[in-house]
Symmetry: C2
Subunit: 214 residues, 2 copies
């Protein structure tokens, strides 16, 4: 499966200016994101399913090829007809998730070290979310930033598509792409933006410009 | 499937006297519980999977027919080879869970009203966890107790096996069984007991005595 994950937008619960998962997803779809990850560690399975179903419906009716991925909950991803799931290091291990998901779904795994990256690959991951590259206010518990150097090390060790994550914004996006990331994953760079459509558009242009550059 | 759910023990994270999920599960298996539900809303999927796998292994190697059920997480239930899953009203809806689980697994659903009970039945539930019958310190957010009267109403409305839950202990167990419950689900009556083996044994005898009585 050739995954295109240049611009990967992660939703969050209540980023604080009256927007919700659906608003963030709408902006991502409009601005041409390649993937949307629905992330809500506080929501029960029922609530996450309702939101995820709505976003899957929006994506399909938009005619976009944007992948819809659910964070953590393999069961919710299956129940809402998402394209796949994204797992953190505290979630189900990749191999267990792959067995439940089947081969037709996309499986992404977070990795902050070469060891985690290799384990995810061996467990059946289709792509890696590598980070946190920079410090991030959205996930203060995400661990020490691995920096551009940490990203490079994982890039050299693993052939899977890599989406860089953690404090990535329009200012540093080109830097992580040049360091070998295939895409950028953003949370607050979109969800906290006053004009989310403009924020997605700007990131899209940076990703596209980098592709031409290569 | 003829479900036998007379004594149903629910584990919990850290009941406060140095015991954990595995200790509670061991006492439940030793004392002849019919079902063990692994419940840990704080654990990540990875941790819950590790604990659940261990309890499934214990149960199978004990030769007991005790059912192992996982609370909330259908994906974890599938990944650990549990017998099924138990869902609260905030979790995945029964029909969505049933589609993922397949027909061979046990699906239980919490219900506090006749409406919830009928919806669970129509969604494919195999049994109901009905309550909270009495006030309970273990789940202070569980809602107003429905009392013996509330239990009776659901008993009259639905043919599924009913496990009564919420503040049930050796003192009131016979009362809820006489009101029509097929079994009793206990959390603190076991997990908070100084001698968990003794607590399980005592509840087992009450359930068995009621069966002879009928």
């Amino acid at each position: 499966m050739a995954l295109s994950l240049g611009l990967y937008v992660i939703t969050c619960r209540d980023p604080g200016h009256g927007v919700d998962h659906l608003d963030i997803a709408r902006a991502a779809l409009r601005g041409g994101a390649d993937a949307i990850q629905l992330r809500d560690k506080e929501a029960g399975g029922g609530e996450l399913l309702r939101v995820s179903r709505e976003v899957v419906r929006l994506a399909r009716s938009s005619g976009s090829a944007c992948l819809i991925l659910v964070n953590d909950r393999v069961d919710v991803a299956l129940a809402c007809g998402a394209d796949g799931v994204h797992l953190g290091q505290e979630d189900l291990p990749a191999d267990s998730a792959r067995r439940i998901l089947g081969v037709g779904k996309v499986l992404g795994v977070s990795a902050g070290t070469v060891e985690e990256a290799l384990a995810a690959r061996d467990g059946g991951a289709d792509y890696l979310g590598v980070g946190p590259v920079f410090a991030t206010p959205t996930k203060p518990d995400a661990g020490e930033p691995i920096g551009i150097e940490g990203l490079r090390k994982i890039r050299e060790a693993v052939d899977l598509p890599i989406v860089a994550i953690g404090g990535i914004n329009a200012e540093n996006a080109a830097l992580v792409l040049r360091a070998g990331a295939d895409g950028i994953a953003v949370i607050s760079a979109v969800s906290a933006a006053e004009d989310m459509n403009e924020a997605v558009g700007r990131l899209r242009r940076i990703v596209d410009a980098h592709r031409k550059e290569r």
